[in-house]
């Protein structure tokens, strides 16, 4: 299978570079992929993920651009007030959409940004330490063609959120390789709102990489909702570099997905950073949703907080790996990690791995994990107040789930996600 991708690359490298000129990077990446291949389940990081499709199916790395379904916009209320950018099967929906605002903010298609501001984009593209890149990531670099680009200059605070919609609709086993870059300058503050969704359709492979650069004292609140219908396999790693005093506030709610893997790789390279990462996964049917967070405390005096919850139904599986690395001399680190799960059905499975690797002594690190069912005392209490069992369960479940959204500051989007969560739970 590996050879097919390599061959496809060789046949198409020119047209790929016409889309997004990365010539050198692509060459190195495909070489790397040739060496690595896809990860397999013997690899510690992939032990809970199901990779069998990648042995059998060739996901054609090219996507035919379809007609945009405009009705879709109406389907997502609450977006009227924000800057909206839509990626349809990985392509900028309107040809080369890219806005540059008066305050210097650039927002839109990566492909367009690469054309207009090649130096700027190149200085932030593919800055990930090679040791963290697996075969999927290499394949992304070799085949990526578009994605979103957000650049916020120094000292710029933007009040309205930037909204990004990734919408996938396809019928053949295609690979959509998108590449996204977010750059916040010194003292910049911004809110990203993202919806990732797909239609009911056959096997499709979303293979993305997002790189995020947070300069000194910048703040990024990034809230996303994922609702992949159909048989989408999505591998969505995010690589975050944080400089001094920067803050990351990220909430990911995954309400559905055939096989979803969200990796967040966050490196704190300046003191007094804060990384606050929250996640919810609600699984059903044969879903498999896995979150992995790797938090690298490379300097002293930083705080990190991971808070993940799962509700599992049907024959689904949910997995969480939270890895905190506190390097030598990273004193005064505060790192907290929590993963709680509720299994509703007889056949759902949870894997949780809250890992700590610590080389500094003056730190406060702790983690907690739990797997169980709803608290019977609470259920009983509610029933004595006149609720039937179903009502009581629904209330407790949604309270359990909504706690993940507690830190969201974007109230409008919080409402949207909350109601989607409630709908999903009721439907389940």
């Amino acid at each position: 299978m590996k050879e097919k991708y390599v061959k496809s690359y060789k046949n198409n490298r020119h047209s790929l570079n016409k889309f997004l000129d990365l010539s050198d990077l692509r060459e190195k990446a495909i070489e790397q992929f040739e060496k690595q291949g896809f990860p397999n389940s013997k690899n510690e990081k992939w032990r809970n993920f199901d990779l069998k499709e990648f042995e059998k199916i060739f996901f054609n790395p090219f996507v035919v651009q379809n007609e945009m379904n405009l009705k879709f916009f109406n389907a997502i209320p609450g977006f009227e007030e924000s800057e909206l950018f839509v990626l349809y099967n990985g392509f900028s929906s309107f040809e080369m959409q890219l806005d540059k605002f008066k305050n210097g903010v650039i927002f839109g298609s990566l492909r367009a940004a690469m054309n207009n501001y090649p130096e700027l984009v190149n200085s932030y593209c593919n800055k990930i330490n090679k040791q963290y890149l697996n075969g999927f990531n290499s394949l992304n670099t070799a085949f990526c063609f578009d994605g979103f680009f957000l650049y916020v200059p120094d000292n710029t605070k933007v009040d309205i959120p930037f909204s990004i919609v990734n919408y996938y609709k396809n019928t053949v086993p295609d690979m959509v390789a998108t590449r996204n870059i977010v750059v916040l300058g010194k003292n910049a503050e911004v809110n990203i709102v993202q919806v990732e969704m797909s239609d009911e359709h056959d096997m499709q492979f979303v293979n993305s990489i997002t790189e995020v650069f947070l300069d000194e004292n910048s703040k990024l609140e990034w809230d996303s909702m994922q609702k992949y219908r159909g048989k989408t396999i999505a591998i969505n790693p995010v690589f975050i570099h944080q400089k001094e005093k920067s803050g990351l506030y990220k909430t990911v709610s995954t309400l559905r997905g055939h096989k979803i893997r969200n990796d967040i790789h966050c490196k704190l390279t300046g003191e007094n950073c804060n990384a606050d990462i929250n996640g919810l996964y609600i699984t059903n049917g044969n879903d498999l949703i896995e979150n992995q967070v790797f938090l690298d405390h490379a300097v002293p005096n930083c705080d990190s907080n991971q808070f993940f919850k799962g509700i599992l139904n049907g024959k689904s599986r949910g997995a969480f790996t939270g890895y905190v690395l506190v390097r030598q001399d990273s004193q005064k680190t505060n790192a907290f990690q929590s993963n709680k799960n509720i299994i509703i059905s007889d056949d759902a499975v949870v894997h949780t791995n809250p890992f700590l690797e610590i080389y500094a002594d003056d730190v406060k690190c702790s983690h907690g994990a739990s797997v169980g069912n709803l608290d019977e005392n609470a259920l009983f209490y509610m029933r004595t107040r006149g609720l039937d069992e179903k009502e009581a369960k629904d209330i407790l479940l949604s309270a359990f789930a909504l706690e993940v959204l507690n830190n969201m500051k974007n109230i409008d989007f919080k409402k949207i996600i909350s109601s989607e969560i409630e709908k999903t739970l009721l439907h389940n």
Partner: protein, 482 residues
């Protein structure tokens, strides 16, 4: 205070091993190297029946197909398995009827270790099966046990005298295919202890084995098998020390425990193998497979370990909770100092209904050492209404060491509850100051706090061991302070 603490830690790191002495007894060694002829040599020396030889051979052939595991968070130097002696026994092993006949020098060795056989036999009522290098020296207290029908003897004797029991249980919990070191052990195990508690019998004494590696360049491969039949109870103690040597010595033991219906087995270890010197030279490689099965309903297995020794430890005393309502516990204190590495923890595999497991792990890292908790809690599909609670705490003394926690939790059942908590901390300055204000010096204060920290585990040890363990912990901390 930080400087002072660093000094304390440095001094602690400089502490030398207390049990570094060798015994000059003429040893009979197998030639170095490992091939099928070695297996034959061992089996012949031990006058084993053919089925045992075949078992070993099968294990050896399987071992040759395997690779050493590399998933642990350990830096293991390459081990030349052909450069080891796989069998060593004091020459002309006589069969003793009483302790008077035992070589006085041998007895003196045990005296130095603080476990004089005679003393223990007379005063504490502990039956000791001492494994000196590879061969069981003398099993005491046999007669009392015999009256109750308890079998407590060396594995070699068990193979000769109770072949049916051995055949039935050997390898039933840790099959020879289980892992690299278990396969190696099955092929070359030298001796060990065998223990069978008949139905309805509670062992009136703690059974105890003392392991000790003496000869240079030998690997010690004990094999321990404990069977608790229905409604029985036994508490088993294992202690380990080894003399100081520059080169590394390999220790790859296997312990199997079977608890039948309503039986309870308590297994306690104080492991104080030579950890190497302060520069990381020498020391024991302790690659041990310990596993129990709660086979029958309402059975209980409890592991308690105090690990202060060995250059490298790779050890996960585990329990399979197969019987309904079975209970398993794992209590561990692991102290690493200087360049020691310990990757240790447990696995709790819940299969039966209403099963319950508890994990309490306390890691203490000092110097440049690495201390890792690694554990698996698994609830199978039919493990209805099961419970697990895990508490894994790490204490760092110094800023050059590592303390890591790698829990794996896999749950396939929606009626159970798993809870895992872990913390990492250092000794708070406020605690040290409070104790100093009451007149304790730094060393005394650290020692008191660490003992308090490990208390939850230490109190699980049987009385005879608790004092030794507390001592060991204090010794470890002596010199840790100025």
């Amino acid at each position: 205070m930080a400087d002072e603490q660093n000094k304390v830690i440095k001094d602690f790191a400089a502490k030398e091993y207390e049990f570094g002495f060798t015994t000059d007894i003429e040893m009979e060694l197998a030639p170095k190297g490992l091939d099928e002829s070695t297996i034959k040599y061992i089996s012949e020396k031990k006058e084993e029946p053919a089925w045992m030889y075949e078992y070993r051979l099968k294990a050896f052939r399987h071992w040759k197909t395997m690779k050493m595991p590399d998933w642990a968070h350990l830096k293991i130097p390459k081990i030349d398995y052909q450069d080891l002696h796989y069998f060593a026994s004091p020459k002309n092993m006589p069969k003793y009827e009483s302790l008077d006949e035992v070589d006085p020098e041998l007895l003196e060795t045990f005296d130095k270790l603080g476990i004089p056989l005679e003393e223990q036999k007379r005063l504490t009522g502990v039956a000791v099966d001492a494994v000196f290098d590879s061969v069981s020296v003398k099993t005491t207290f046999q007669e009392t046990l015999k009256d109750l029908g308890i079998i407590f003897c060396s594995m070699s004797e068990a193979i000769k005298n109770y072949p049916e029991l051995v055949k039935k249980y050997l390898g039933s919990v840790v099959p020879h295919t289980d892992n690299y070191f278990a396969a190696l052990n099955a092929a070359v195990f030298s001796d060990g202890s065998f223990c069978y508690i008949p139905k309805g019998v509670r062992s009136p004494v703690e059974l105890s084995t003392y392991f000790r590696i003496n000869t240079a360049g030998t690997g010690q491969f004990e094999r321990t098998l404990i069977v608790g039949d229905e409604r029985s109870y036994v508490s088993y103690l294992e202690g380990c020390t080894a003399p100081m040597r520059d080169e590394n010595q390999l220790h790859a033991a296997v312990v199997e425990i079977i608890a039948h219906k309503d039986a309870e087995v308590k297994y306690s270890t104080v492991q104080n193998w030579y950890p190497g010197d302060k520069d990381g030279k020498g020391g024991i490689y302790n690659f041990v497979t310990k596993r129990a099965i709660c086979k029958g309903d309402n059975s209980k297995v409890s592991w308690t370990q105090m690990e202060t020794g060995s250059a490298i430890t790779w050890k996960y005393p585990s329990t399979i909770l197969k019987g309904d309502n079975s209970v398993a516990e794992f209590y561990s204190v692991a102290v690493t100092n200087n360049h020691q590495q310990a990757d240790t923890g447990t696995k709790m595999i819940h299969i039966g209904q209403n099963t319950k497991s508890t994990i309490v792990s306390k890691g203490i890292s000092i110097g440049q050492s690495e201390n890792i908790y690694r554990g698996l809690v698994k609830f199978g599909k039919n493990a209805h209404n099961s419970r697990n609670h895990s508490q894994c705490d790490s204490l760092l003394l110094g800023d050059r060491c590592g303390a890591h926690t790698f829990p794996y939790i896999d749950v396939e059942n929606n009626t159970g509850i798993v809870e895992h908590e872990a913390t990492t901390s250092k000794i708070a300055d406020e605690q040290l100051f409070y104790l100093k204000q009451r007149g304790l010096n730094e060393e005394e204060a650290v020692s008191l706090i660490v003992n308090g920290y490990a208390k939850e585990v230490l109190k699980q040890l049987p009385l005879e061991f608790a004092a030794e363990a507390t001592n060991l912990l204090s010794i470890s901390l002596e010199g840790s302070v100025g």
